[in-house]
């Protein structure tokens, strides 16, 4: 069934695949320029935090990466995978694959930038507390998902089995979100995305810089997912051509 619907499904992405195979991706260029611009703004035109100093600048990369990897990659990937199990549309599988891969990238950024902030502020690179531990094991789940995709040759089985893993990963996300409130933790509480106005204690300039960097990384995230999806479509077209 999956093979029968595959040609019609890949047709929609043909323009993207041509672009992936040689075209110039303006979206990605704009996204990279946006990230460069926001980095300049953060480093040169945003006030230094009084107590944390330069280490606090990591906040403008670490927090957007965490938000994007958890809520814009893992959650949609598991929802899309659940839809794949229901509809069996190969496009959904390619979207899930792209989201997971970009999610792994941002999750890796979160895990790598955290220690650089942790060493000067906490005095240690790594602390086995709830949020770090759960982010680390979400990263393991994502890596497992990608390795599983690599270990299954048959496209339909690959899509089905990896969708099951992605759905299971989705069940874990609420627990990761809640860990910060459930356990005593060293990790700072949210200062931007929190319903309590008393906790929104970020200066207006820092807040604006943060929102700009969130936007810039979101555009980068969209560009990367779009690019990865186009590549997956091109690969599947190639596969169908080879079979034909």
């Amino acid at each position: 069934m999956a093979m029968a619907s595959a040609p019609s499904a890949v047709r929609g992405g043909a323009r993207d695949s041509r672009q992936a195979s040689g075209g110039f991706d303006w979206f990605l260029i704009v996204a990279i320029l946006g990230v460069v611009a926001v980095t300049v703004r953060v480093l040169l035109f945003t006030p230094m935090e009084l107590r944390q100093g330069l280490a606090q600048k990591i906040f403008y990369l670490h927090v957007p990466a965490a938000i994007l990897s958890l809520y814009f990659a893992v959650v949609p990937a598991s929802i899309v995978s659940g839809l794949y199990l229901w509809l069996k549309d190969p496009r959904l599988d390619r979207i899930a694959e792209s989201l997971a891969e970009v999610g792994v990238m941002f999750c890796t950024v979160v895990l790598c930038t955290g220690p650089f902030w942790g060493k000067p502020i906490w005095g240690t690179f790594w602390q086995w507390e709830a949020r770090l531990t759960s982010t680390l094991f979400l990263w393991f789940v994502l890596i497992g998902y990608l390795v599983l995709r690599g270990a299954v040759d048959q496209p339909e089985s690959r899509a089905r089995l990896s969708a099951v893993v992605a759905v299971m990963a989705g069940f874990l996300v609420p627990f990761i979100h809640l860990t910060v409130y459930m356990f005593n933790t060293l990790h700072p509480m949210p200062v931007v995305l929190t319903p309590n106005p008393m906790e929104q204690n970020l200066s207006p300039e820092m807040r604006q810089s943060f929102l700009w960097s969130l936007l810039a990384f979101f555009v980068l995230y969209c560009a990367l997912v779009r690019n990865r999806y186009a590549w997956a479509t091109a690969r599947d077209i190639q596969l169908l051509e080879d079979q034909a």
Partner: protein
């Protein structure tokens, strides 16, 4: 000529009892346990692995630096997690020979009951390994005896339920793919972490002589994860198998 009432009643010896979720699950579990009982290969391997690990751990630490009471819970849960994986891999491995899995799927049993049956057999398997490993660790690490082991056994049982739900699902996923022996621990162990953390914490408290009430929160968390994992695994399991 037979009596009319005799015809109205169903024949006494049907070749099999009518289908039903629990009955099917028990039938699958019985089949798996029977295969295991006749060969005993996986159980002996897992049990020896558990005993060997306990013995090896005994020689990896400096007894004057770390007390056995601090070390034992960690050793116990490392052994449980890894010996569990050994048994789980076998769960769907035995269905690959002669394409037995196709026969299982072609039978009128629901996939959920196949999952429940496999999980029950795995629970019995892991339970037996734990029954052997608990006294072995207690013996090798000179742990105090007494009522605390009731609490540790409860934590082990709760953890085994979670292990089995996750492990059976991932054993089905990895049954047919390359490097299944490596893929199963890689996929299943991250999901074991939320089970191992409260289980090991509860065990540590109990072994150190604290009352069960102090470990109750961890046991509740363990039960919570069991409910989550059993429900989620049962829901997605039917998608892991294709005829």
């Amino acid at each position: 000529m037979s009596h009319p009432t005799e015809q109205a009643n169903p024949p006494a010896e049907l070749p099999y009892a009518p289908p039903g979720f629990l009955r099917d699950a028990m039938r699958v579990a019985r089949k798996d346990l029977l295969i295991e009982f006749r060969t005993r290969s996986a159980f002996i391997a897992a049990a020896v692995f558990a005993l060997l690990s306990a013995a090896i751990f005994r020689f990896t630490w400096d007894p004057s630096a770390v007390s056995t009471l601090d070390l034992a819970p960690g050793v116990l849960w490392v052994i449980f997690a890894f010996s569990g994986i050994l048994g789980l891999h076998r769960s769907f491995g035995i269905e690959l020979a002669d394409r037995a899995l196709d026969a299982l799927l072609a039978s009128p049993m629901s996939r959920e009951s196949v999952f429940a049956g496999k999980a029950l057999a795995n629970l019995a398997f892991i339970g037996c390994v734990q029954t052997l490993a608990l006294p072995a660790v207690g013996l090798f690490f000179n742990l105090p005896s007494g009522k605390l082991w009731v609490g540790v056994a409860a934590a082990s049982l709760l953890a085994a339920i979670g292990f089995v739900a996750i492990g059976t699902l991932f054993a089905a996923i990895t049954a047919n793919i390359r490097m299944a022996e490596l893929m199963l621990p890689m996929l299943a162990l991250p999901f074991f972490i939320p089970i191992i953390i409260p289980a090991a914490q509860a065990t540590a408290l109990l072994i150190n002589g604290r009352p069960v009430s102090e470990a109750a929160d961890y046991l509740k968390m363990l039960a919570g994860f069991d409910i989550l994992f059993v429900t989620a695994s049962t829901l997605v399991f039917p998608f892991t198998l294709e005829e």
